[in-house]
Subunit: 170 residues, 2 copies
């Protein structure tokens, strides 16, 4: 039976890697900041719910990938996390994990396309049209220039894909 303890070098999940990434980018962050960063994503997977993020940060600290200090300067509590050296290493390893990075992930549009034959043509066309509109309308996330570039690049490819599928549909 596998037991996750502090020293085990288990590969990080996407959420764990993402949290380390945010902290690495900004130097130091509170759980709240990580939560907000996640919430900016156009993906429901990065919902940034408190019930996911706070326990996550605690877990990462228990595994010594994060270290927290009290950064409160007023009466309001504030707990700031930084990467430990093991955390830096774990993040770098997660980033370069080709197997995980190559996974096709989870894509609601792609899933529906696999069953598109079971829709009549007008319905299929209308689905693609509406997804195209919503994709165009998606807000560009964050005030992080680099992330915005990636997002725009993703959006462009997405729209190209949808256009191609529409053409294929006739």
């Amino acid at each position: 039976m596998h037991v996750k303890n502090e020293s085990s070098p288990y590969p990080l999940t996407e959420l764990e890697g993402g949290a380390l990434g945010v902290i690495q980018r900004v130097g130091a962050a509170t759980a709240y900041q990580v939560k907000e960063w996640f919430s900016c994503s156009p993906s429901g997977y990065w919902s940034g719910s408190a019930g996911a993020v706070y326990p996550l940060m605690q877990r990462l600290e228990d595994r010594s990938l994060l270290a927290s200090r009290n950064a409160s300067e007023t009466k309001r509590p504030k707990r700031e996390f930084r990467l430990t050296p093991s955390g830096e290493l774990a993040f770098s390893t997660w980033m370069r994990d080709v197997n995980q990075a190559s996974d096709a992930g989870y894509d609601p549009l792609r899933t529906r396309l696999a069953f598109l034959v079971s829709l009549d043509k007008p319905a299929a066309r209308s689905l693609l049209d509406e997804v195209e509109l919503k994709t165009r309308a998606m807000a560009s996330p964050l005030d992080d220039d680099y992330v915005r570039i990636i997002h725009e690049s993703w959006r462009t490819m997405r729209l190209a894909w949808i256009a191609e599928l529409k053409q294929h549909l006739g």
Copy 2:
């Protein structure tokens, strides 16, 4: 407090929609067949683990979206599921759900790209190279022509995206 009971018209999850989709496509299927169909996906999300699929099918039957009959012709048990009329409706509603269909989902490559600045250029380039290779090497799934077309179309767009990112990286 929300309680999921048999009659509640809660939107289906991706896994639930996918299971209904498989059954709709093939007419009637066992949990095992659905499980195998899921396993053929290049995505870890569709892992098709028994612990996910068997309870899932049971849930869908409890909600009257599926009906099962004993299809065993030998000593080996065999339980075959079909869509009920409510199941057909639920599947169609799930297929046309534009909000869910437009969600950006979960994409390990995209996530890593958001943090790519924290890798040095050779590491970034090597990551993209290796993901490209793995994407090219991905098996075309299933003996379902339509699904294969969608998969190939996805792969093509994916490779185009990677090529563009590589160029952008210099």
